[in-house]
């Protein structure tokens, strides 16, 4: 038995090796393209490249003289936070093959509900004075529930009438957006002074501490909530019976039905969980950045979640690396574009798009894969023959 165990680890290794190789090649192609685009479009390519590749590592840009006193490192962290949430949500939903694209709506509604609650408890509307910690917790909670409610709509529509989740969830994103705009423009939530933003709540509720403990660092509680969500998503998917059933459903729905998984209710459950996380994301982002609500456009974080799920292969464990990477190039691009003469920020979208394309293209590097398989199979066979020969002796 022991003899046979050896080639198995090799086998897994080669599959893992191939997916690593694929990822590396895709990223290399994407980054090469970025470099080419920067060189072509920047006034000072060397400077721009430096900002793009190294910018996010700077905690405080020393170039204060130029008026660029941003905490660049914080850009990176800030871009990472929503990705952690939405990546987890999409990992869970896609694991069950539920292509609910309603995260945008969940984020919208989560932020809106959270903002309103904070305004009521600790803000301008009622001018009540609740404990800020309690207020923040309640805000996050209500935000999450709002998100869960909104994504459960397409799920229930499918359960009841067989409506396509993808279509109805996409439509709900816009419905959520217009609800948010309606609240901002036509209700007591509206701030009469600026006409664009909501009423305000006290700064104490905000989840971000700039110049934390007198240092140059900015502490974002959102990051920790995000990390907790990723850990939850991983444990839920891989360490509980519910997660097991969800994955079963994703791997083979017929099989799931046959072994007794309640396929329909499980499908609804994952979408509600995804929505809860989406809502929490919206709430965290709103409470993390400002003391007012400003949701007049879709955030795009929902789509980022899909990107993240693809990067991590639906395994939340890999989300940390994936989000760190994408957030890094985004922060880099942003820093680069704010410098004078720098190329535009949207460059990252091209890079991301290209990487995703190569990750999803099934036949990409297929010949290399094939060669690896053939080589491996032969090695395995040779080993087996050698073992048999030994036994014969």
């Amino acid at each position: 038995m022991n003899k046979e165990k050896k080639p198995m680890f090799k086998k897994l290794d080669s599959e893992a090796k191939f997916s690593l190789l694929r990822m590396a090649v895709a990223i290399a192609i994407g980054l090469t393209l970025a470099v080419i685009l920067i060189v072509l479009s920047a006034e000072n390519p060397a400077e721009s490249l430096k900002y793009f590749f190294l910018g996010p590592l700077q905690i405080l840009n020393p170039n204060v003289a130029k008026g660029l006193a941003f905490n660049y490192f914080d850009f990176w962290i800030q871009s990472m936070i929503p990705l952690l949430f939405t990546g987890s949500a999409v990992c869970i939903m896609f694991s069950a093959n539920k292509f609910n694209l309603g995260l945008e709506g969940a984020i919208m509604c989560g932020g809106l509900a959270c903002g309103w609650v904070c305004c009521l408890l600790d803000g301008d509307i009622k001018a009540a004075n609740a404990n800020p910690v309690l207020c923040a917790i309640l805000g996050l909670l209500v935000g999450a529930i709002a998100g869960g409610l909104i994504t459960s709509i397409p799920a229930l529509l499918e359960k009841k009438w067989g409506a396509s989740v993808m279509v109805s969830s996409l439509m709900l994103n816009y419905i959520s957006l217009y609800i948010s705009r309606f609240c901002l423009f036509s209700t007591e939530f509206r701030d009469l002074k600026t006409s664009k933003y909501s009423n305000q709540w006290t700064e104490e509720v905000v989840l971000t501490f700039k110049k934390f403990l007198g240092t140059k660092l900015t502490l974002r509680l959102g990051l920790f909530i995000g990390i907790a969500v990723v850990i939850f998503a991983w444990a839920f998917l891989f360490k509980t019976k519910w997660g097991f059933k969800i994955r079963e459903l994703g791997h083979n729905p017929n099989f799931a039905k046959y072994v007794g998984v309640g396929v329909i209710s499980m499908g609804v459950l994952v979408q509600i969980i995804g929505g809860l996380i989406g809502g929490l994301c919206g709430a965290t982002v709103i409470l993390g950045n400002n003391n007012f609500y400003y949701g007049v456009e879709l955030t795009g974080y929902g789509w980022d979640g899909v990107t993240m799920a693809i990067f991590s292969g639906n395994n939340p464990k890999k989300l940390f690396l994936a989000t760190a990477f994408i957030a890094y190039i985004r922060a880099g691009a942003l820093i680069m574009s704010t410098a004078p003469g720098g190329p535009i920020n949207e460059l990252t979208k091209i890079v991301e798009g290209v990487i995703i394309l190569f990750l999803l293209a099934e036949k990409f590097l297929a010949k290399t894969h094939r060669k690896m398989i053939v080589k491996e199979a032969k090695e395995k066979q040779a080993l087996k023959l050698a073992n048999e020969a030994k036994e014969a002796e």
Binding site: K239, T240, G260, I373
Partner: protein, 516 residues
């Protein structure tokens, strides 16, 4: 004709790392029927897929009429004069025979399909080779035997000189098989080369001129059929003598576990597939269900196992109506099921052996500690089952998709047999698995019967149904056409007549299937 058809040192490695063919050599001459024998999973089908251009060899040469060929697609193969009849027919049921035969080479008059020409050419081909088929009949109205002839005509009409038949008799009754053989011999006499893939050795012996035996992806040898006996071939295939008879004491049936009464099932198109049938299965007996495919067996099994719903009649499992239970409840109530299609229902190929084995029990307390899965217990149990059920693998962490068919089936069987149960529904439990694995599964079933399990066995393998079952139900046209309390008195030929609906039993006799 030295180099009429030669496959030389052909190697094929699948993407899951399995070496299906390892330097296989095969050759055939003009005008012979050449059998390829081997256990399931030995690599027969892979070899033929390469000859028909569906798969491409990683190494080796294919030589046809002296020319080195590169067959990248079935189109190339057809051009080279090769035709293949698959196990599953590739036909459009709503079209006529002539239309099906002409698919891909449609005769046209201006812009429209020339039906008259299609019928004429189909007829001509049928007459030339002695097939009696009405070109204007619709495929869906034909029996399986005739459908198969259509499939052969389809190949012949395209000018095929080398015809591959992949287990052509698997779906036929003994009578239909006999008829097919007459026609194949006639075809051979007209100069056609026929490659006959089968593991039914008596058929090989009766029909073929030569036989090539393949074992575990390697050629064992080629023999003239008159020089070898069935037992010889069997030994070359398996390596050891296999006893196909499972030792079995007479059944001691007890009380009813499953009672089906006046059950009628309509399929999704609203067609009646199961027509007012009643029977019961008792503790400690194996009830076989035989029938030509498509006579309601699948629909019957689907409703008993909860995969589909029924509205007329009743099915009672141990005192509870099946209709009122979800599959999870049914399983809780003691039903286990080996599904007909192990890849569609029986496993998740992209999950590990461990996960597949524990999938139906994952919610049980013993596999959970608090909120989380008890991974230690899961690993312990599944490791033990891997050993117990002789699953050939590197470890329980290996993906099921990496295993051969027989081992996948062992994973399915291990999962189902290790859950406490009262009723086992065993649907084609040994289809497409090697002799050793099949023997293992059959023995386990007899063991379970002796321990008091009620078992339903559906199988297209007549020898299996007849040797394993204690009593036998024959289905024809959605009805029970015959019930045999004791299978021993039944001959295979007689069973064929009931399957075809040539013979019927009286209503009184059929009522015997329901024990009250």
């Amino acid at each position: 004709m030295e180099n009429y058809l030669v496959m030389q040192d052909v190697t094929k490695i699948y993407n899951n790392g399995i070496i299906a063919n390892d330097k296989v050599n095969f050759s055939a001459v003009k005008g012979e029927i050449h059998a390829i024998c081997g256990e399931n999973g030995a690599g027969k089908t892979t070899l033929m897929k390469m000859l028909f251009g569906i798969e491409q060899p990683d190494e080796g040469k294919i030589i046809i009429k002296g020319k080195d060929m590169k067959l990248n697609s079935p189109t190339d193969a057809i051009k080279a004069g090769i035709g293949m009849v698959h196990q599953h027919f590739m036909q459009v049921p709503s079209l006529t025979v002539a239309e099906n035969v002409m698919l891909g080479i449609e005769p046209t008059k201006g812009l429209v399909f020339d039906m008259n020409e299609a019928v004429r050419r189909t007829k001509e081909c049928c007459e030339k080779y002695g097939f009696e088929i009405n070109p204007k009949a619709e495929i869906q109205d034909l029996s399986v035997g005739v459908k198969q002839k259509v499939e052969i005509v389809k190949a012949l009409v395209k000018g095929c000189e080398i015809l591959i038949l992949d287990e052509p008799t698997a779906v036929l009754t003994p009578q239909e098989t006999k008829e097919l053989f007459v026609q194949l011999k006639h075809l051979r006499d007209t100069g056609c080369t026929i490659i006959f893939i089968s593991h039914k050795l008596n058929e090989v012996k009766e029909l073929c001129d030569r036989v090539t035996v393949i074992k575990k992806g390697k050629t064992i040898g080629v023999w003239n059929i008159k020089d070898v006996t069935e037992a010889d071939i069997s030994r070359y295939m398996v390596g050891v003598d296999v006893d196909l008879n499972i030792p079995k004491a007479p059944a001691q049936p007890k009380e009813n576990v499953l009672t089906v009464k006046n059950l009628t099932v309509y399929n999704e198109a609203g067609k009646k597939k199961v027509d007012d049938i009643s029977f019961s299965v008792r503790r400690g007996e194996i009830v076989g269900i035989a029938g030509v495919e498509g006579n309601g067996q699948r629909e019957l099994i689907d409703v008993i196992t909860g995969l589909a719903k029924y509205s007329h009649g009743s099915i009672v499992l141990d005192g509870k109506e099946v209709k009122d239970m979800e599959i999870a409840d049914l399983r809780e109530h003691g039903m286990v099921h080996i599904p007909e299609d192990r890849n569609l229902y029986g496993c998740a190929r992209t999950m590990s052996i461990k996960d597949n084995m524990v999938a139906d029990k994952i919610h049980k307390d013993e596999y959970n500690s608090g909120l989380f899965l008890n991974e230690k217990k899961i690993k312990e149990d599944t490791d033990r089952w891997v050993d117990e059920y002789l699953v050939l693998c590197d470890s329980g962490e290996q993906l099921v998709g990496m295993l051969s068919g027989g081992n996948v089936q062992k994973v399915v069987v291990a999962r189902e047999f290790t859950s406490p149960s009262k009723l086992l529904i065993s649907d084609q439990p040994t289809r497409g698995i090697d002799v050793g694995a099949a023997e293992f599964v059959r023995k386990k079933m007899v063991e379970m019967r002796d321990a008091g399990e009620a078992i339903i066995l559906v199988s297209a393998d007549l020898a299996e149904v007849m040797s394993l079952s204690d009593s036998l139900i024959v289905m024809h046209g959605g009805k029970i056409n015959g019930y045999f309390k004791d299978v021993k008195s039944l001959t295979e030929e007689d069973l064929g007549f009931y399957m075809l609906g040539v013979k019927h039993m009286s209503e009184e006799e059929i009522k015997g299937a329901l024990h009250e």
